[in-house]
């Protein structure tokens, strides 16, 4: 931990930000030096070049579109797939956690699908959905839905039976126990799942966009690869990294707001 008493000029939060910035700057300097002065320069363009190209990409199009459009279209694909994954994942997870029957029916099927990496589905998805956006949604969906299901299932399994007993004792029927106890007490687990899933879905977008596309950050990288443009590949990677970072922070901020009651464990 950073001790705030020894350095009273900055708060803990400010210090953390300062250290983060220092670490980033160091990374960039090392990258720049390695790319300029070692033999790695053959495969690794210098940081300055990548960053200029990155900022330029917001004004000058890569292919037919500027970077903002590429990021936007990729985000749209992730958002659609993520929405489906959330609804189906929560329903399946809570269902399996709450009902033995539901668990017996769906758990084996789910456990069978779970270890298959999303990219393994690409050939089938082309066969089933052709080269449309649907195929991309499908791949991203598979990339994030398992995380949501597993976490929700965990949450619904771990509901304190005494809380369910208390609710029944106070007159709640089974439907009320489900919606007022099982579901809300799974919310922190669901959020943990959503957080992993949003990052996983965002990483799956590259794979999904490998299926014939003309836009998207994944396409920027694939396109860079096929034209031997290393700078463009790195620009795509930087964009994916930055957006992923922002998404992860947004979901955890949302979690802090919605699960404020969970701040202190062990009540």
């Amino acid at each position: 931990m950073i001790d705030s008493t020894t350095n009273s000029r900055f708060t803990n939060k400010q210090l953390i930000i300062i250290y983060t910035i220092i670490s980033l700057v160091c990374l960039l300097i090392v990258w720049e030096l390695v790319a300029r002065f070692t033999s790695a320069s053959m495969f690794l363009p210098p940081a300055s070049e990548v960053l200029t190209a990155f900022f330029r990409s917001f004004a000058e199009p890569i292919g037919q579109h500027t970077m903002l459009f590429h990021v936007g279209i990729s985000l749209y694909r992730v958002a659609v797939a993520f929405l489906f994954a959330t609804v189906i994942g929560i329903a399946l997870g809570v269902g399996m956690g709450y009902s033995r029957l539901f668990e017996a029916i769906f758990k084996p099927l789910f456990e069978f699908i779970r270890p298959i990496p999303p990219l393994a589905w690409i050939p089938l998805s082309i066969l089933w959905f052709g080269l449309s956006d649907t195929g991309k949604f499908f791949i991203i969906f598979l990339g994030c839905f398992c995380f949501i299901t597993v976490n929700t299932y965990d949450g619904a399994k771990n509901v304190d039976p005494e809380l369910m007993g208390a609710a029944r004792m106070l007159g709640a029927n089974e439907r009320q126990v489900f919606f007022k106890i099982v579901l809300p007490s799974s919310v922190p687990y669901i959020f943990a799942g959503l957080q992993i899933a949003v990052t996983a879905g965002w990483s799956a977008v590259v794979g999904a966009e490998m299926i014939q596309s003309n836009e998207g950050v994944g396409w920027v990288i694939i396109r860079g690869m096929s034209t031997g443009n290393t700078v463009q590949i790195m620009v795509g990677i930087v964009a994916i990294g930055i957006v992923g970072f922002i998404l992860a922070n947004l979901t955890s901020a949302l979690e802090r707001r919605l699960c404020a009651w969970n701040a202190q464990k062990g009540i």
Binding site: D160, A167, L170, A172, A260, I267
Partner: protein
């Protein structure tokens, strides 16, 4: 029976425990672990009954069965003449570990019973106000359980149970986790609440002072398999004094009787 002239009118019992026994499958899965055996007793209207026994003797198991949260493997329980077959809002439960709903505010916890039973909105509001006032928590409506102290949480637990206006209240060592100071205070509070809002209360404890301070009648339980060792009718004037000679005498009498069974 310690005293002949009890202050309980022996009319129809509100709760009857008939030959109740409870066994669990033992942990190796082979044999049976008998926790309760042949429990017989009645509880009368507006009586404060204390079930007193050592730790781990099966007090929670017994209380769960009486409340309908668990089923006995032998015998049966009758509430107002009807066989108990599951949880019901006519019976209220205050838990050992409070078991508040942590994602709900204090007022939502207290209003949970009236709301799930679809009482009119106005009635729900009125009950929340009344019972938070009863336990002295007015002003904490919007707090979450995690923001309250242990004693305050247990007050919410009591208000939540009272808000359903049940016939019988079950309390499972509600003050067991509190520090001694808070505990004395909560015992006095509970006595005040019970005198103000008369209810039949079945209260479980392993603390003899708590038992003597609160009870109209004490049932002394033995260790596993648990059965009833002795009953004591407590007729001392309320509020009771921990160093009153009669208090000390009863304390000695009951703990002596208890030690023999360990």
């Amino acid at each position: 029976m310690e005293r002949s002239e009890g202050n309980i009118k022996k009319k129809n019992p509100v709760l009857e425990c008939r030959n109740v026994g409870r066994s669990f499958d033992s942990y190796d899965g082979k044999g049976k672990n008998e926790v309760l055996r042949g429990m017989n007793f009645e509880v009368y209207e507006n009586e404060f009954l204390v079930l007193f026994g050592a730790g781990q003797c099966g007090k929670t198991t017994l209380l769960n069965i009486l409340a309908g949260l668990d089923m006995p493997t032998e015998g049966e329980v009758y509430a107002n003449g009807e066989k108990v077959s599951g949880p019901a809002p006519e019976r209220g439960f205050v838990y050992q570990k409070t078991s508040l709903f942590p994602w709900m505010t204090v007022e939502d916890n207290v209003g949970f019973g009236p709301k799930v039973r679809h009482l009119p909105e106005k009635e729900c509001k009125e009950r929340i106000r009344k019972y938070l006032d009863l336990v002295g928590l007015t002003g904490f409506e919007k707090s979450y359980p995690s923001q309250l102290s242990g004693g305050m949480r247990q007050r919410v637990g009591i208000a939540r149970a009272y808000a359903n206006e049940p016939d019988i209240m079950f309390m499972d060592e509600p003050f067991g986790h509190l520090d001694a100071q808070t505990r004395y205070m909560m015992e006095e509070e509970l006595q005040r609440i019970w005198q103000q809002e008369k209810r039949t209360v079945i209260f479980v404890t392993n603390n003899i002072e708590e038992a003597l301070f609160l009870a109209d009648r004490i049932i002394l339980l033995t260790n596993c398999p648990t059965h009833i060792k002795q009953e004591y009718s407590i007729t001392m004037q309320r509020p009771r004094d921990y160093v009153d000679p009669e208090f000390l005498r009863l304390r000695q009498l009951i703990t002596d009787n208890m030690d023999l069974t360990l």
